[in-house]
Amino acid sequence: MPNSATAGGFLLVLAIVLPISGVLLSLVLGGRHAERITLIVMPAVLAVALAIAAAVWRTHNVLQYFVGNWNPPLGVALRADGLSATMMVTAAVLICGIGLFARGQFPSPQQSELRAPLVFWTLLLAIWGALNAVFIGGDLFNLYVALELLTFAAVPLVSLDGRAETLAAALRYLLFALLGSILYLLGAVLLYGAYGTLDIVLLSGRIHAGPVAWVAISLMTTGLLAKAALYPFHLWLPPAHAGAPAPASAILSGLVVKAPFFLVIRLWFDIMPRMPEPAAAQVLGILGTAAILVGSLVALRQVRLKLLIAYSTVAQIGYLFLMFPLAIKPEMGHPWHTTAWTGGVLQAISHAFAKAAMFMAAGLIAEALGHDRIAGLSGIGRALPITVFAFALGGVSLMGLPPSGGFVAKAMLLTAAVAEGQWWWAVVVLVGGLLAGGYVFLVLARALADASQPLTLLSPISPSRQAVVVALAVCAVLLGFIPLRPLELLQIGRPDIAVGGMK
């Protein structure tokens, strides 16, 4: 494929450069301007993400860029296929929403620089740049650096309030993330040792089934699973996501935890298609099932709202990995089963919107009540109806009720499971939906109940912040109007097409 050093390629570079430039500017101009800089950068990067998606759609091809005009294997390539473009637009819309919401929580100080606003806005931009780098990275080591960038930007947000329990949660998160990255790097080292390149497209052409490839892929997958908090590596997630401030929890559960999942997709569907192994995919499905069951059951027992939502994230991540046994086909050359593929990606996107809305709603409720105990939520439905409505919409998507993105995603996974004769996954999806319904209704029943005494809110909650939360929840619902068949945009750039183009 020719080097698109045209508008297409330039956009890929901008997607990383713009947010990082925002980080540098915020640091040098000082914390009083960090919020303003973010608000200027947000629409710019959103426009870039939309432009990339438009370019991918228009050309029906992968956007490719060789950095520095050095061709792989010596140089590093950036590539945006349909999946990358979709994730980038999702990230852009979500971060714009989170940024608007967070203006009320981390306003710019008038006098001197304050710690929390500077750190929050700088790290939000850094997470955005890192996410874009993960979504368009075409080289395994470049992706390693992007993953580390993401970890270093995400971890301090967990301990932003400086309490002992969030510090411990942040440290545990960091240790798990570091273990994950080093295992990932170890696998990449072995792949380079065997095939002499770290470029994803070149590797897909050179790789063949054998002990080296298997050990390398297993190590990399294990490392990425630890970063994605898939069972049994999930212990770090609930305290970390529950302890972070609400807008940070939204981005952590919504996107940061999806980046390693995205890379597992790249590994299994882009590098490995010539070495099919449906048995290994079943292992991922089993771990996903365990995550759904454990996450949902523990969520039902939670006393605090934010912890319940965090355990729900553990469960919903399990759905993502059900995609693997359903989308891998045993025959060579056709490694994806389109319906399951679309379902898995749609689950990632709709969960991002729904979970972000739920965390932000929980944040508003906690600001209003001064606590987030579920037992003490009575009456909040009357006091903050819009917020609770947004929470309910998010819950609808988690449960998989129509109309919502969650429904479409789970319906696709169900269809694929039944069509392929792997009916056991269909059972898992249904049971998971029931359990999700359990914990969502647990909260809503409390919230909609009448309070014994009239509720006084600790602080007024601005309607604009509530509007942002509802808007994001509505996005999750709007995804439900996607027709129940594979999305063409997501199929652009699947490996069968890409491999033929490289020399």
Binding site: N3, A5, G9, F10, V13, V17, I20, S21, V23, L24, L27, V28, G30, Y65, F66, V67, G68, N69, W70, P73, L74, G75, V76, S112, E113, L114, R115, A116, V119, T122, L123, A126, G129, A133, F141, N142, V145, A146, E148, L149, F152, A153, V155, P156, S159, L160, G162, L167, L186, L190, G193, A194, Y195, G196, T197, P211, V212, V215, A216
Partner: protein, 310 residues
Amino acid sequence: MAFDTGLAVLVLGVAVWTLAAHDTFAAVIGFVTYGLLLALVWVRLAAPDVALTEAAIGSGVTGGLLLGASTRLRRAEIQAAGEKPGATLRFAAVVLCTLVSAGLAAIVLLLPEPAPTLAPQAAASMAATGLGNPVTAVLMAYRAIDTLLETVVLLLALVGIWSLAPDGVWGGFPGRRHQADSEGVLTFVAQLLVPIGILVGIYIFWVGSVAPGGEFQGATILAAMWILVMMAGLVDAPPVSRRWLRLLLIAGPAVFFAIGLAGFAIAGAFLAYPVDYAKLLIVTIEIPVTLSIAVTLALLVAGPPERAPK
């Protein structure tokens, strides 16, 4: 060969001691020794650039950081040592780790012969970069985007560390104030060593374009000199809200991005260099990057602000 085998056994022995030592301080000393031995291994593996980096960063600065931490955490470490996991977990861990090591060892023996390598391509393209050191060519030309992102990673780690400051002392001075003792050994060593160290650091950075060395190794030596001067109490760490400090920190990544973007206009791609000016541009990037990395590394060791700004 016998020397190499002995070296490998020694490295493993020190590693085991680092793991098994009861006292954390002893474990850290073992770690620093292990790092220096590793640097020797890198020399034996014909990787002088890596040896310099391992000695300076992997063993030197990391060791200093760990030593400082282990003294401050001494009480907590003793108390935590009682929470050792049970026998079943230890046994399972032994089995797992033995399997992992055995598997990796088998892979090492199964790697293909002849080994795939990018050395010929790296050699062939070096003329276009005007450099004489192939590792620098990889870092600053072929895979410049990795190096660029890496400088941002360092900066973010610093922001993360700063975020741990209590709100009241935000913008203040990192670390404790060390008092200068004009009769003291540390002050004497600092006054003697630092000017030499700065020259050595600049030299190692400068020579990196044609010989082993480069910006990371040079920057680490410069950072170590600044750390030494701060620890000896000759200067105080600057308050983190100072504009000039922030400018120094971002200068490297900013210039790197700027020249990279200029590459669109003058050479046709992001981070591309026109052949005639390649070496000039690379050095123009490396100077502020070395400064920024030196400042960042020193501040990473200094820690979050602990004293309020004036």
